[in-house]
Symmetry: C2
DNA sequence: CGGCTACGCTAAAACGTTTTAGTCGATCAA
DNA sequence: TTGATCGACTAAAACGTTTTAGCGTAGCCG
């Protein structure tokens, strides 16, 4: 069963294709189509269940009402939650979202950008990785709205929305120090992205501000794509061999692995061993004792992203890049 | 900067559009284009960075190399994990995935189907809800490959991939009984979908098989879209007012809420109070004590879905609907 | 009465591909 | 010599829309 086309409707209504198109697009009044014809055509459309072919539409108009969202990994709860919020908000404004994960692979990221480009998405929301600066610059040069989030790319002049990682990290470490902790570890990843570096810088600066000497041996950089088992082993090694009374995990999945590691070596979180995780997770609230965490304001981030995108879409000319840094919240538990 | 079209390439290479198209689509040999021309054109394409406009392609060929994935909620870890696996596997076979969440709204589900339809996706993977049978039937009538997963729709004759919810639930309850539990509660939702009903049936049957009388008061049906606070309150009420020594949560988010509820009223999970969650979650492994869970074999489900889809896509005629039920695994912890 | 504008509608071009049905010359078998 | 086949390529239709330009009639102004 072939699906209906505008032509079928035109024939049925005994009017021209043009007329039907005007009616579909709400230009009937403006183009002075008579009330009678409008009603007749609308009735036929209704009855036949005709839906315009969006592909033909896109081909003709050059836009798609689709926003492309490129993230690191949809199965990470930070991203899946933000994706959901963005999807929701975009949907309410008449936009659809297509998303896809890069898995931190430069090649896949490039491919995704190309795919979105050849599908003529109207705008791009990207949590980028180093190595795709050129591709992003090309999108910008072609006049596409692009918003980076979560991580910024300093070499390229785009709008960006993200949390204040430096301060959140600084504040976390400060809270440890205020509790009298001295030997504070940082478990982070080796991916070379801004927000991870900022968290590291915040850690360092807080130590310095309090006259505590930075010790390289207390910082563990986990290789990004490795097996969880190995991660756990490395973390255990850190905790068993060093004198440590507090630790900041730079991502929520590291914190999860870290908590598993602690559990296995039977080291308890508590007054004499503090833990803070960056990015909250359901498991932290449930853990005994409950784990403190830095919460990124997801709702606000999503809302800001959508606002910036819509601004850019509705303005003809290019808008100046805008950076929005949103404070993160340290939630102290138990 | 307008993007290049096949015509630009043709002009540059001084050949016809047709020739370029043949080369792009690997039909050069078959259409006996000379080696020299092939090389020349390929070089020009390479240098200019030309990418075919997929929209025009789709319009002409009627397919898109895109598979539409419709799920309940991307921020639920079960779905986001399966989405990631499906995306990955599809990607390796040259297909892209577009996904979107229904939020259990019939209207949104219908809209999504229409959106995918008008974008001419090649196939549909849907975790359906009751009320969209007709829409799915229409997709089938139009000859589209459709695979349902997670939940089946008995009124419509589609392929389906899902876990064996009845047995998993039965087995869970049986394990409680084997431990000597007598008053076993079930916390489930009121959404009227097959897999939830099967879990309920498994619960009932296991009690019956062991000569335990089914007690309506031990079954709590949580309204789907309600606030978490209310859910927690209801669960607390259940536990405080009834004599209960074990509970099966029918979804992982209910289990999360349930554990929060238990924590607040300071009821400990342990030998005299057993908990099993349906669908595993990182929080369960980390909980003290660790929480047992029914694991759906995500990897296998994703793989099976993709296989069925590809089979249908590559066979011309319609294939008979196929139901694949995959056993779930009860993981007993601590 | 001639020229304008408004009304109600439509023909046809354009968007960027794929694909069918050729064309034109050269080679080949009979 | 002729008809068929092959090699190398191409013109043009088609996919389903949107949109520009325009057509014929009627009413109105001066």
């Amino acid at each position: 069963m072939k699906s209906l086309s505008i032509k079928d409707i035109a024939v049925k209504a005994n009017v021209s294709i043009t007329t039907v198109s005007f009616i579909i697009n709400g230009k009937a009044k403006e183009k002075s189509i008579s009330e009678a014809v409008i009603e007749k055509v609308e009735k036929i459309i209704e009855e036949s269940g005709y839906k315009p072919n969006q592909i033909a539409r896109s081909l003709r108009t050059g836009n798609s009402n689709i926003i492309g969202l490129i993230i690191e990994d949809i199965s990470n709860s930070f991203f899946s939650r933000i994706a959901r919020l963005i999807e929701d908000k975009a949907y309410k404004r008449g936009y659809k979202i297509i998303y896809s994960s890069t898995e931190n692979s430069i090649d896949k990221a490039k491919e995704l950008i190309n795919m979105f480009k050849s599908r003529k998405v109207d705008a791009y929301i990207i949590s980028p990785i180093k190595g795709i600066e050129e591709d992003i610059q090309m999108l910008l040069d072609d006049g596409n709205p692009v918003i980076l989030f979560d991580r910024n790319l300093s070499d390229v002049n785009t709008s960006y929305v993200g949390a204040d990682h430096f301060n959140a990290s600084h504040q976390s470490i400060q809270s440890f120090i205020d509790q009298g902790k001295k030997n504070i570890a940082l478990v982070t990843t080796d991916i070379n992205v801004e927000q991870i570096i900022e968290r590291y810088d915040g850690y360092k600066k807080a130590l310095e501000d309090n006259g505590i000497k930075y010790d390289d041996k207390l910082v563990l950089k986990i290789h990004f794509n490795q097996e969880e088992g190995e991660t756990i082993a490395q973390i255990q090694e850190l905790f068993e061999n060093k004198k440590i009374d507090a630790v900041l995990f730079a991502t929520n999945y590291l914190a999860i692995s870290g908590l598993k590691a602690l559990k296995q070596i039977n080291k308890k979180v508590g007054d004499d061993f503090g833990v803070i995780a960056y990015d909250d997770h359901e498991a932290f609230e449930l853990h005994t004792p409950r784990i403190s965490a830095v919460q990124q304001p997801l709702e606000e981030i999503a809302e800001t992203i959508i606002k910036l995108i819509l601004n850019q879409l509705s303005s003809k000319g290019k808008l100046p890049a805008e950076e929005v840094i949103i404070p993160a919240r340290l939630v102290i538990r138990d």
